[in-house]
Symmetry: C2
Subunit: 337 residues, 2 copies
């Protein structure tokens, strides 16, 4: 924690070689080079000060893409759906990118499931596919997801499919990152899926019941309709339930159609701007916190190195007074300069 | 977001009635009044500036309790285990508290599952039980969990059982909040449980296989042992796998014993202090960020009210430059005073 953003705490007096290469990457990005996009995604994923430089440069070009979150329990067939959907949208003339968020071990850093190889057809048709590792919360969205989506948006993709290999834990994250949320369910639902559904119910703009050729599909659909009917309606959008057999491509055109309808609804109702506004406000708060923290981080680090935490560990001091004193000290030093 | 910590941004010149009542609550807390504890938990859960006041006051008394996280997929029997375990530890002379973290709808704010009624036996034996709503991440730990644990610790409970009705998404949270992590699994595991396990494998200090009277238990145990055997060993602690039929209380004494052994191990190896140190460092970072943010929050709010976000929404400005300018402005004003 204390070792991290060293680079950020050490502003270079001139222009470093790293900054130069970052600038030429951004230039290549603006020229539409896919390799530059891929490299900048890595920069943004790593999330130090360079991230901010990149985001600042590309921000004016964002705000055009339709960000579509595809979520649901493991085994529901999300990857297959995303693969087919990407193709269907490409055929309709869209430029489509896929962000697949893998559950990752926080300890090994390696992906446990790799979905890229499953999306074979899409990748052969020029769809841009990128896996993001989750950091910090297993199976949830990567913290970098909204920023990578910004990059794809600025690059000119007008549809971004965000697939979370999740189990209903990242509801708020996916709402924040997406304009439209598609929740994929399957007819057979055990105890655990039942519990997950609770969280998934309230975030869906569109429901898909995949593997609809299986037994109990109609019953499951009735159940879902009845639960939906009992939920308070949040707005004018009536949530559709779409049967699907994704492996055979059945139901995909319907899904593409409903996604288009929702996009229209978001614009007609002003909700698209509202959502974008909220994302910008969140980003302002996050950036301000980071910047303010960065300015005292080094001092806190060295203060702890000098004094240690012994007083606090022994209960003779507390973290809150420590922070108070430290901020005061940092500001006095600044005033004296 | 911008409306929230108003109370924090408005420091009262004298002592407000609220502060007075907070002080008397803290006094009653130090005298051991359970009602004061319950009320302070609510204060800490709500998480505005009053939280910090409370935590600062009680901090010197923390650092003694054993925090035990109990996690696993829904339906694994966690509540039953926690109920029995609490009793077993009470009988051994411990003062036990239970924190049950409910999955909560981020929209309704209401709990979807209530576990308190299931822990009947424990509550009759004087065990303190409290449900926490999760906010922000469904099914994960409440953001307030570590702070509520601090309160219980300072109140004199020496064992705190933290039960998460989770599905493998809050791994890092529960590691941070607990000294010992007990992962509960059941023999029958479908596709989805399989996927969840991936995340649960690496955080366990102790494994429990509950419902061990069911078919396939021995096979499941062999499977688990074989997976564990293939994982790199992180330290000297050998992770035990405990068979259990919690509903009949079978296996509970074993679990109590292993928990005690792990507590001993944490102290002998110095890991207890290490963990506590990290928690304090995290808290220092969180507190500093909050404090620094609070000082400019009001100004950002009024700045946005005046100017709106139109320039940014239209791509003529960006959030990063906005923050930069704002911080500069706030500091110039401060310098002039």
């Amino acid at each position: 924690m204390w070792e991290q953003s060293r680079a950020g705490s050490n502003p270079a007096p001139g222009t470093s070689p790293m900054e130069t290469s970052l600038k030429s990457l951004i230039q290549a990005f603006h020229q539409g080079q896919v390799r530059a996009l891929a490299k900048l995604i890595t920069v943004v994923e790593n999330g130090n000060r360079a991230r901010e430089t990149v985001l600042k440069e590309i921000f004016p070009k964002t705000g055009h893409a339709h960000r579509i979150g595809i979520t649901g329990p493991p085994g529901a067939g999300k990857s297959t759906i995303v693969d087919h959907l990407a193709l269907a949208l490409t055929e309709r003339g869209h430029r489509v990118a896929i962000l697949a968020v893998d559950p990752t071990s926080p300890f090994t850093g390696g992906a446990l499931l790799g979905d890229r190889h499953r999306m074979v057809r899409a990748s052969q048709q020029g769809v841009f596919i990128r896996s993001l590792a989750t950091r910090g919360s297993l199976g949830g969205l990567s913290e970098a997801t909204p920023f990578v989506a910004d990059l794809l948006d600025a690059f000119g993709f007008d549809v971004i499919l965000i697939e979370t290999v999740g189990v209903g834990q990242s509801e708020l994250d996916i709402i924040t990152a997406s304009d439209t949320v598609v929740v994929v369910l399957v007819p057979e639902s055990g105890d655990s899926i039942q519990a997950m559904k609770a969280g998934l119910m309230e975030i869906a703009d569109i429901f898909v019941i995949n593997k609809y050729d299986r037994e109990g599909s109609q019953r499951f659909r009735n159940e879902l309709e009845s639960i939906l009917g009992r939920m308070p309606q949040k707005n004018d959008w009536v949530i559709p339930i779409l049967p699907m057999v994704a492996i055979r491509g059945e139901g995909i055109p319907d899904l593409a159609e409903q996604i288009k309808r929702h996009w229209q609804y978001l614009h007609d109702s002003g909700k698209f701007t509202e959502k974008r506004r909220q994302r910008i406000l969140d980003e302002i708060e996050r950036t301000a916190k980071d910047r303010l923290w960065r300015r005292i981080e080094r001092q806190i680090g060295s203060f702890i190195e000098q004094q240690g935490l012994d007083q606090i560990l022994q209960g003779k001091a507390d973290p809150y007074t420590f922070v108070e004193e430290l901020i005061r000290k940092v500001e006095e030093e600044r005033d004296q300069r």
